[in-house]
């Protein structure tokens, strides 16, 4: 009897710990509000943009969406706009754009942040550059949506642009 009871408890513990300890699979949190949540804002966002499951927008590292073949395709796209971006750079630092890729690979709900190279929040700096990055990211076209176990998911993705000496030196995720 005790063996059965303890086996059952052990099973519950294993299932529970696997649910949240495995961070690189969809977590099905069934909640909109989480760290990094981007609420719909009708003044910024496309009202025709639909997600498949508003309560379960996963993170990129859980479902691995991909643009082209990945970072080489993303770098190639932005390299064509490098001069323009550099001309808009008022201060060096990291410009981060975060957005949603829906289960069909369409994107929207872009938000940007800017921080200095020593990681302090300077979000009011480089306003024009932030607008341009959103415009260019919007114009990238569709991504291959995030997938796990054959199912497509909505997910959050972000890209980071590093500016040093007013030069765009790297793009990463």
């Amino acid at each position: 009897m005790y063996t059965l009871r303890y086996s059952f408890l052990l099973l519950i513990l294993i299932v529970r710990s696997k649910t949240f300890s495995q961070n690189t699979v969809p977590q099905h949190l069934n909640v909109k509000e989480k760290i990094g949540w981007i609420p719909f804002d009708k003044s910024l966002d496309n009202s025709n943009f639909k997600v498949c499951d508003e309560l379960n927008i996963e993170e990129y590292y859980q479902v691995n969406p991909i643009y082209g073949e990945g970072m080489p395709s993303i770098r190639k796209y932005f390299s064509a706009h490098k001069q323009l971006l550099q001309s808009l750079c008022e201060k060096d630092g990291y410009l981060i754009v975060r957005f949603v890729i829906n289960c069909q690979g369409q994107t929207d709900r872009y938000r940007t942040k800017f921080m200095s190279l020593n990681y302090s929040d300077e979000n009011t700096v480089n306003a024009e550059l932030q607008k341009k990055i959103i415009q260019l990211t919007r114009n990238m076209g569709n991504w291959n949506p995030g997938k796990f176990d054959g199912k497509t998911y909505d997910c959050y993705q972000h890209l980071k642009f590093i500016f040093k000496n007013s030069q765009l030196v790297d793009v990463l995720f």
Binding site: R16, S17, F20, N23, T24, Q27, L29, N30, V31, K32, E33, K34, I35, G36, L55, E59, Y60, Y61, Q62, N64, E69, G70, M71, P72, Y94, I96, R98, K113, M115, L117, Y119, S120, D121, Y156, H158, K160, I162, D170, L172, F173
Partner: protein
Amino acid sequence: MITCKVQAQNTQTLEITDKLLDSLSIYPQLSQLTIQSDLYYQLFLEKYPNTHEAYMSRSVPYNKTGEHAIGFAMLNRAVELAPIENLGYRAFVKLYMMHDYEGALQDGLRLDSITSYAKPGVWGEDMDMVIGLCYLQLNDLKNARLRLSNSINEVTKKNGKEWNSPRVFLYLGITLMKEKAYPEAIQVLDELIQMNPNYSEAYYYKAQCYSALKDLKNAEVSIEKCKSVYGKYGAERNPYFELPYQIYPSFLSKGL
């Protein structure tokens, strides 16, 4: 007395009390992305303000979701409180997630100095490998070679050659390639292939070395082998970030 009820949409109410905070130890059994988890750490830090584990744990979802200004503010506090425990993780985040090679190197070297050369791991990776990779990315090839070689020698001496990460051989091979020491680079990459014949990156960079030596026949053999291995096994990937010197299909179709 801390008492707080939080309820996110479609989730059960979680009452955060002193009793709950104490009973959960320092790690809540919640997804790190949830508001409840974040609130838990916030309340925990109000009660126990010098708990470096809570600052570090609270930083993780922020850094994973691109909220780095918040994430680093917390992680920096964790480092202030307990540098030995947190410098390695901060170095790891700076290196792989921010491409801040100078920052990662400073953290790595500081950790190395304050641990009396005991070489604790850097978030699961060998310290000398991480420091060597920072030097490589900063194009300080001499120091990169010294650290990466040291990593291989020490791990091999302590635990055996098979306990080295394949990537330390890859980074050493690339360092030697950048130093134009092509035969030595090929030798290191061959060691990697001997240990792991399905490691497609090794064949790719070996082909680059042969190409630099104008040995086009061997370059072609290596790139064909790379294509074959890549087709079957792909290349190493990390879901959180692009690995240094990661290879892609388009690399294999380009001429050498």
